[in-house]
């Protein structure tokens, strides 16, 4: 091979090396994103479980005094019972939102009972659950952001060229499916 042939081979080799490098980086990036999504989901799952474990203690602490607020307490118990860590993520999102709404209603009702509000045990439980609710909200945002980045990556160049080869599918957000979102009834 003459010198010009060597130079041409060098050029082709360099271009192939760049393409291969970009492909390997893209593949590794998708693998890392999947790991991050799984980790972000595990972090949510831990907090959902903690909230699930804490709610009975809160309901027990306020049940005696709030005998006339059975609807609110029943709603919290019903929402809590729907928790199932094996459900698909969008279904868990629906049930998590229901639990959050029920807990907020309970906290609102507690405001009307000074004897409950002044109970240190209740205050402590309320603070813990509020902290967990805040963590769920923050970690949900982080998870959804990570899923967004993953979905965006596997649908844009150059990674979308690799997606069919490796069977990469879009991941679901931790949010209710659009068809499950209830529209509030309005009567104008």
């Amino acid at each position: 091979m003459n010198a010009q042939g060597v130079a041409a081979a060098f050029a082709v080799g360099l271009l192939l090396a760049i393409v291969l490098y970009v492909a390997v980086v893209s593949y590794n990036a998708v693998m890392s994103l999947r790991q991050r999504i799984d980790k972000a989901w595990s972090n949510i799952d831990v907090v959902l479980k903690q909230r699930h474990d804490q709610l009975p203690a809160l309901v027990s602490a306020v049940r005696g005094v709030m005998a006339f607020e059975q609807d609110v307490l029943t709603e919290v118990a019903r929402a809590r019972a729907n928790y199932s860590p094996t459900e698909p993520i969008p279904d868990q999102a629906v049930h998590s939102d229901e639990t959050t709404r029920a807990v907020r209603s309970l906290f609102a009702v507690v405001e009307a009972y000074p004897e409950v509000k002044s109970n240190e045990n209740v205050l402590d439980l309320q603070a813990q659950i509020e902290r967990l609710e805040s963590m769920i909200a923050d970690r949900r945002e982080l998870y959804n952001d990570q899923v967004y980045r993953y979905n965006a990556r596997i649908t844009t160049l150059p990674t979308n060229l690799l997606a069919p080869l490796f069977g990469w599918q879009q991941r679901p957000f931790f949010a209710a499916r659009p068809e499950e979102l209830e529209r509030p009834a309005t009567d104008l």
């Binding site: 490098y21 990036a29 952001d145 980045r149």
Partner: protein, 371 residues
């Protein structure tokens, strides 16, 4: 008589090939890093979970800050070089320390704060992407650049405790430059500089200072999991590791021989009192009766000093792990990604340069251009 330009042509082609490949290598490395930063969501510090995380916030000093050598600026990281101004190609950024007359890079631990809280950063083994705050040369008449303010004191400074101290520092103007030419000590005057030649020098300094916005990508771990917090805190420091067999052997030998003090008090005396030398000691030191007793810190100052120096073992901190060094980059994540993408595009241009240079070299060698 035809000019024999083959040697120059070969030299230029080889230089083009080298520079092109170097640009390409840097661009590809930055492409990978841009992907890593861009694919990691930014966590809120208050709800941070252990593991690989990315946080973005503002730098706050921890126990100590650094004073940069060229601007005397208070910072948590600096990288400074002084070089001859007219010594050929200036490769800038990554390679300025090669052949520099003066090169120094240091960092200390700091805190980073976002809207939800703050976290301690231990920058040992971190990779830094800091802005250039000084990039200037000596003038033709030998006059030094206006931003140059050579450090004349120690490189480390204690961090003032409390808001009042911070406000006072902000309101105070820069100290008057002393009538002292440290560059003479380094080896040169205005016309006989350390850069050699005609004495002109090029000063370059990158710093990250309290108040700067940064993006940090790395591992959040409980403070108790750090092998050695003292080592983890210093980014560029002693390379002696306590787990090194030889160092551990020396320490054990010294301990057996009774050469090591049993307690910090025995070793350092009053300097072992928390707050001593940094702010105010939180208990009365035993002083020479003739000496003036320093004022004791208030309870609030004591608790602030405690908070700064004593980190609970389960508190999350950011530190390098063996498989994932910290990346500390100036600005928001999007800005850090943008800079790296720019380098990637430059790297692709470098590939074109390398290919063109290889083609030219081949043509020269085969005589196609020479005849």
């Amino acid at each position: 008589m035809p000019i024999d330009w083959q040697p120059q042509g070969i030299f230029l082609a080889l230089a083009g090939l080298g520079v092109g490949l170097w640009l390409l290598a840097r661009g590809l490395a930055d492409y990978r890093e841009a992907t890593r930063i861009g694919d990691t969501s930014t966590s809120r510090i208050a709800t941070l979970a252990a593991g690989e995380v990315q946080v973005s916030g503002v730098i706050e000093p921890a126990e100590l800050t650094l004073i940069s050598p060229l601007q005397s600026a208070t910072c948590v990281y600096y990288r400074s070089t002084i070089d001859g101004a007219d010594d050929g190609i200036d490769l800038r950024a990554d390679l300025t320390e090669l052949g520099a007359d003066f090169f120094e890079e240091r960092a200390v631990g700091f805190r980073v704060r976002d809207e939800t809280g703050d976290i301690r950063v231990f920058p040992r083994a971190a990779r830094w992407d800091a802005p250039t705050t000084l990039d200037d040369s000596t003038g033709l008449m030998g006059d030094e650049p206006p931003g140059l303010r050579i450090r004349t004191g120690p490189a480390l400074a204690p961090t003032g405790l409390g808001r009042d101290v911070a406000i006072a520092a902000l309101l105070a103007g820069p100290e008057a430059a002393p009538d002292f030419r440290p560059l003479l000590i380094l080896g040169g005057g205005a016309h006989r500089g350390i850069g050699g030649g005609d004495g002109r020098r090029h000063y370059r300094e990158t710093t990250l200072a309290p108040g700067d916005a940064v993006t940090i990508l790395g591992r959040a771990m409980p403070f108790g999991d750090l092998a050695d917090p003292a080592e983890a805190d210093i980014a560029i420091g002693s390379e002696l590791a306590p787990d090194d067999a030889e160092v551990a052997g020396d320490i054990a030998e010294a301990r057996e021989a009774g050469l090591l003090a049993a307690t910090p008090e025995a070793a350092w005396g009053n300097a072992s009192i928390p707050g001593f030398g940094i702010g105010q000691p939180i208990r009365a030191p035993v002083l020479d009766p003739g000496a003036t007793a320093p004022p004791l810190g208030t309870a609030a100052q004591a608790s602030e000093a405690q908070r700064r120096f004593e980190i609970p073992p389960d508190a999350l901190v950011l530190a390098s792990a063996p498989d994932s060094p910290l990346l500390i980059a100036q600005g928001l994540p999007s800005a850090a990604v943008e800079r790296r993408e720019g380098h990637f595009l430059l790297g692709l241009l470098g590939a074109i340069l390398a290919i063109a240079s290889a083609m030219a070299l081949a043509m020269i060698v085969s005589g196609a251009l020479g005849s």
